[in-house]
Structures are given as structure tokens and as C-alpha cells.
Symmetry: C2
Subunit: 148 residues, 2 copies
């Protein structure tokens, strides 16, 4: 699905910024933070406003084009949902957050566990976040330690 098609399907207006954000999210396979998206677009020469990006992302979130993942670092990240992107991400899988480089990645193909909650509670969603060092950072760390 193209950015245009996604926007049309959700009844959102087809604007330059929205197409750019969607293209970026389609291209990257992992959840991106507001800042990451902002900098990526800015460095691509796109003139853009912080506030408009906030509003764009929350519009996408409300329209269920993206889902939000809250990291243990306090940063919210956004990723396309499968229904819109066709790339297999339903949002219901664990995420991995590297505490060194700050990148988050999806651990696709792995289910979230069933959790028992107190009687009477209503479960609306779950989020499983694994944190530590990603492959790259773990490798670099080892190198640094060897050098020291």
C-alpha cells in the first residue's frame, strides 16, 4: 500500500508531510521516535514544524495507521500497523530497546503471553519490552573493553 492509499482509506488529507512520514515509516522496519522522524525528514531537506509532526503522528495513531510503543527510556516510538502497511506488523509482539544506541526493533514472530488479571479488570492491550544491548553495541562494547 502506498502512502496515498493509506491516507485515502483513513479519510485523512493527502499532504506532503504525511506522505513523507508514511514513506519513512514504510521504509524503516522499526519503531521511530518523534525526534528520529523529525531529524530524518529535516536532514532530507524537508522543512517541517515540530508541532505539525506531533499532530500528524497523533492523527495517525488515532486512525490506527501506526501504533505507539513506550520505551523504558520514556520515549514514545511509532510504527506502521499491518492493516495499513501490509508488512506483517500487528503490534502484538515484543520489542527490543538498546539502551546504548537507543534504537528499538520489533521481535516479530513471537507471541505475547497470556496474563491473568484480577477479576473485573478489562484488558485493552499488552506491551512486552526487552532491553539491553543490541548486536552492534554489544560487539563494540567488547572491542572497547579489549582495547582498554
Amino acid at each position: 500500500m502506498t502512502p496515498q492509499e493509506i491516507l485515502r482509506e483513513k479519510g485523512l488529507k493527502n499532504t506532503e508531510l504525511r506522505r513523507r512520514v508514511l514513506s519513512l515509516l514504510l521504509e524503516k522496519q522499526d519503531p521511530l521516535s518523534h525526534v528520529e522522524i523529525f531529524e530524518e525528514l529535516a536532514s532530507a531537506g524537508q522543512a517541517l514544524d515540530r508541532v505539525t509532526l506531533y499532530r500528524t503522528l497523533s492523527a495517525f495513531s488515532e486512525a490506527r495507521i501506526v501504533h505507539k510503543v513506550q520505551g523504558t527510556d520514556g520515549t514514545v516510538r511509532f510504527r506502521l500497523l499491518r492493516a495499513s502497511s501490509g508488512d506483517g506488523c500487528l503490534g502484538n509482539h515484543p520489542h527490543f530497546l538498546c539502551r546504548k544506541c537507543g534504537r528499538m526493533s520489533c521481535l516479530l514472530e513471537q507471541p505475547l503471553p497470556r496474563v491473568d488479571v484480577p477479576a473485573g479488570s478489562v484488558v485493552e492491550g499488552k506491551q512486552l519490552l526487552v532491553f539491553g544491548l543490541c548486536g552492534d553495541c554489544a560487539a563494540n562494547k567488547k572491542t572497547e573493553e579489549t582495547v582498554l
Copy 2:
């Protein structure tokens, strides 16, 4: 273990504020946010400084007296760890966050699942957060809907 004993064991100075924060965390069984702790102490007549509380909580976190739980609401909450409190909380269990009243509770006795990560990654911790409506808020909501 008493607040004094916990502080002594960790080599932290035994001050009024720290004892109060620890007493509160010992008393409450669920993770509390900075704001919740601040207001609880303030309403108990304790004169306190926001900044000092931030520093106190991060000192506790570094000393592994408390563990931090990041909610899907973007709020960090703190809870005593078992090693210090003796109350059975190791931190490695799911948490439930009510999106209406904002209270978080521990789902003790339930394990976190094993998660496979890409080769080379180092896992340092996991966090499983279930969100929705707690028993009280779900009951109230039903009542409201009936009334309408």
C-alpha cells in the same frame, strides 16, 4: 527490614526524607509515580523539594533499592525491590496499568516469558505491561453507561 536498615545496607545516609519515602514505598504495595509520592508526602505535612525527591528516587534506583516501571502513559513509577523490602517483589512480573485512574499494580506470581532476541544481543531486563481498566473503573464505567 526497616527504612534505616535498608539505607545503612546500601551506604546511603539516613535522612528524614529518605526514611519517609521508604516508609511510603514499604506501606503501598504498588509502583508509585514521582507525583504520587510527592503528593502523598506533602499531604502528610512533609515539607519537601521536587528536585530532592527526583534525586532521592534516582539514588534509590541506582542502589537497587527500587525498580523503575515505565507505563504506557509515559510515567515512571517506583517500587521497592524484594532484596531490600522482603515483601516478595523481585520486579520480574507483569504490571497492570489502569488508563482511567492511572493506578498501577503488580501482577505477582506470574512469570515473564522467555523471549528470543537476535544473535549477539545482550538482554538486561524485560518489562511486561498490561493496560486497560481496573476492577473499580470497569465497574464504574458500566454503571455510568447504564445511567446514560
